[in-house]
Amino acid sequence: MSRRDSSTSSFNVSERRRRRRATLLLAAGCLSGLCLAGPPDVLVVAQSLDDITSLDPAEGYELSSMQAFTSLYQRLVQPDPDHPASMTGAGLAKGWQAEPGSLAFELRPDAVFANGHAVRPEDVIWSLSRAVKLNLSPSFILNGLGWTAATVEQHLKKIDERHVRVTWSAPVGPAFALSVLGATVASIIDERETGSHAESGDLGNRWLHDHSAGSGPFKIRKYIPHEALVLDANPLSPGDAPRLKTIVIRSVPDASTRELLVRVGDADIARDLGPDQYAALRDRPGLQLRQFPSAAVHYLLFNTANTDRPELANPSLWQAARWLIDYQGIAHGLLKDQFQVHQSFLATGFRGALDDTPYRLDVSRARSILQAAGLDKGLTLTLDVFNQAPFTEIAQSLQATFAAAGIRLEIRPALAGTVYGRVRSHSVQAVWLYWIPDYFDAHSSASAFALNLHDGSTSIAERAGWSIPQLSDLTLRAVREPDAGRRLELYRFIQTQVQQRSPIVIALQERSQVIMRANVRGYRQGLNADMVYYDRVTK
């Protein structure tokens, strides 16, 4: 390894390819043109694409598909990559007028889809209503505006050839409505193109699984499930055309293989490596490590609805747990800066996020809390975690620190689907999970952590069996609040309540790390899962 390290600069891609060519020519006789040099206008990204179920924005709701949507589609409004807090500049709407219960959007005059069709108000109405009617995974985001399959079309009206009015029946303010319309599920699709591929009333859903009909900077050339997603630049792209002609996102399921690919230069970018791999590659010549804050927060949840274990409903247990997590050790030691300590549900970077971290590892304080509550007689709890890194490592750290205070954690690693199934059926005792906001608004997280309406709707608070009528009212008040400053104040207060009183111990915020070749420039990534931007990348 060290010899290779010292010679990296000379051991470049073309050299490696020359060697391979020479060797094979020697071995197999005349095999001219064996290895083509990687074209300079193609970006190769190595990551796993196994999570993609569909590339229809009305259905895809996984990390990889959401990352792709930003390249393929535009929404009416969407966060500006350079100023994520601002909703102007990057969407299809040139501007809008807000009134109580409605927004009137003006479409950009030059807005066109990749196939040359102009973006019309009809496309906006069709795209939003089809997402609600299809009723697939991400449709709940639009349901937040009070839209249902039966009513959605009443709320979307064409004003003229360039204007469209959006109304809603839910008691929410325009700021929240804008955030919802900035989610990937609200991507605007070419009705004429997609409609022509519809079959059996599926509104083009089957066709959009592996095709695109958007106005984003790229369009799908080819998608092979579990193998690759190849994107071509859209020459009609909004603003400047993308710098590179093609993006090849290769599905490479093994992290070590991804590392090899970026090391030798057959991939320009590699994602989702382990903490040790990032640490090893950090200072390697020819490579650069980029870190971006991520909106994902990790938390420990106690299921207070588990009647077999009444201790779980004891607030002293939750309080003690807050002092039994080795926040710094996990974030910076165990996981080598892939996380930062964060103890409130709004990730740092969101407006209104509470960034103070009042809790640290303090076993003696936890022990006294448990003693005062009579929970010091040797408590044993099961802890469910996903059976993959970094969850199992985090679970082991928790096991060690909780044991120091006399709480024995029995770790139950399982597939993510199994863990979610257990959480949904309220059969867990304690579980370590993570949360990524569904759209770029504080209500997305607040409605998860501080809303339990007992009406059949689901939330993290509901999963924890945490009954909070007053806090739920406050959360609903916050989303209705028209005054931006007052709204942020409310969210700060709600975060404090969850941070100090809930059976949900929020502990860490992820940092997204990406390793790339040194010549890659212009790559941008934001807080939310969908904020991955390839359009300004050069190499």
Partner: protein, 344 residues
């Protein structure tokens, strides 16, 4: 062996009919067991469809859509009827018909496993013959070392090591994937067999590139499988070596190689056939780690991804295909063994 040609034909027909009946019965049993196990799986396909945030009504609607609200015998009947007509359902993890997915991934596995099988058979039998002729010689030791290494070293670790050395360090061979990116997404793959498609494409350099990407995974699978063929074959040959007919043949002046090839090898043919069949079947379904490390599509990887995603239609479809391969290979082997030696 039997001068009566009509008798041989009758025997062949009987064997084929018996094999077809066994195939049908085994497939039915396989379908029932896999379906029952999938039903017991804690993964919830309806939850996957509606997402964590889906309302109870949406969740129930998804369960109804997927037929999960029906009793499982009824679901099994529905599935079996669809499967009989080639409809294996829609994969929850790719959103595509399972039959289409399998048509895409199976040729890749078939190609890899068949090449590895051919390599293992040639190398394994060759090494077994040499080490049987020269027991405790250099080749004999080599067979033991290869067998031990192939069976004891984790194949994903060997794969990474091989990739690091021959692809990353020396640059001699192609790395992960079936082709370099320059070819992978420009040539069509109608058959799914990369060698065939690369050859047919007419694109200069595509075929040798496909070969250079195949060498490492095939070599690894050969290393994994060769011991399973070489060692039992060697043991069987050595067991034959002490028998009277061998001593007689040698006493009549026949050379060692002549006795081994003409007398001993045919005597062990049934065993060798069974070994080859088992190895082939294992390669067809057990290449998942190689497929993962080398980022190659294949049925092993498809099934593993489906298992992790709780994708019941894909799990059932893949299991059926692998089961059919097993049954067919076993059936063909039994028939061949029966023809070679009617006592079996």
């Amino acid at each position: 062996m039997n001068p009566d040609g009509g008798g041989a034909l009758r025997r062949l027909l009987t064997t084929l009919v018996r094999s077809a009946a066994t195939l049908t019965a085994t497939l039915a049993a396989l379908l029932c067991v896999t379906f029952a196990l999938s039903s017991l799986s804690p993964a919830d396909p309806a939850l996957k469809l509606v997402g964590e945030h889906g309302s109870v009504a949406s969740y129930e609607q998804a369960r109804h859509l997927l037929g999960l609200d029906l009793p499982w015998p009824q679901r099994l009947g529905r599935y079996a009827e669809g499967a009989f007509h080639g409809d294996l359902g829609i994969s929850l993890s790719t959103g595509a018909p399972v039959a289409r997915d399998l048509r895409r991934v199976f040729p890749a596995t078939f190609e890899l496993a068949t090449l590895a099988m051919m390599g293992s058979a040639v190398l394994g039998l060759g090494l077994a013959l040499i080490s049987a002729v020269h027991p405790r010689g250099v080749t004999d030791v080599l067979v033991r070392v290869i067998s031990l290494a192939g069976n004891s070293l984790p194949i994903f670790w060997l794969g990474l090591l091989a990739l690091y050395l021959f692809y990353a360090r020396l640059g001699w061979l192609g790395g992960p994937g079936r082709l370099d990116d320059a070819y992978e997404y420009t040539i069509d793959m109608p058959s799914g067999f990369v060698l065939l498609d690369a050859w047919r494409s007419g694109v200069q350099g595509a075929f040798p590139n496909a070969v250079s990407h195949l060498i490492l995974p095939v070599a690894l699978l050969v290393a994994y499988a060769v011991g399973s063929i070489a060692r039992p074959t060697r043991a069987a040959l050595l067991a034959e070596a002490g028998k009277d007919y061998v001593l007689l043949a040698r006493a009549t002046g026949a050379s060692v190689w002549s006795v081994v090839l003409r007398q001993m090898l045919p005597a062990t043919a049934s065993l060798v056939l069974t070994l080859l069949a088992l190895t082939y079947a294992n390669l067809l379904q057990g290449a998942v780690l190689v497929e993962t490390v080398f980022a190659r599509p294949g049925i092993g990887r498809y099934l593993t991804t489906a298992l992790f995603a709780g994708d019941t239609p894909a799990i059932l479809g893949s299991t059926l295909v692998i089961g059919i391969c097993f049954i067919l290979i076993n059936g063909v082997t039994d028939s061949l063994a029966h023809l070679l030696d009617p006592r079996t």
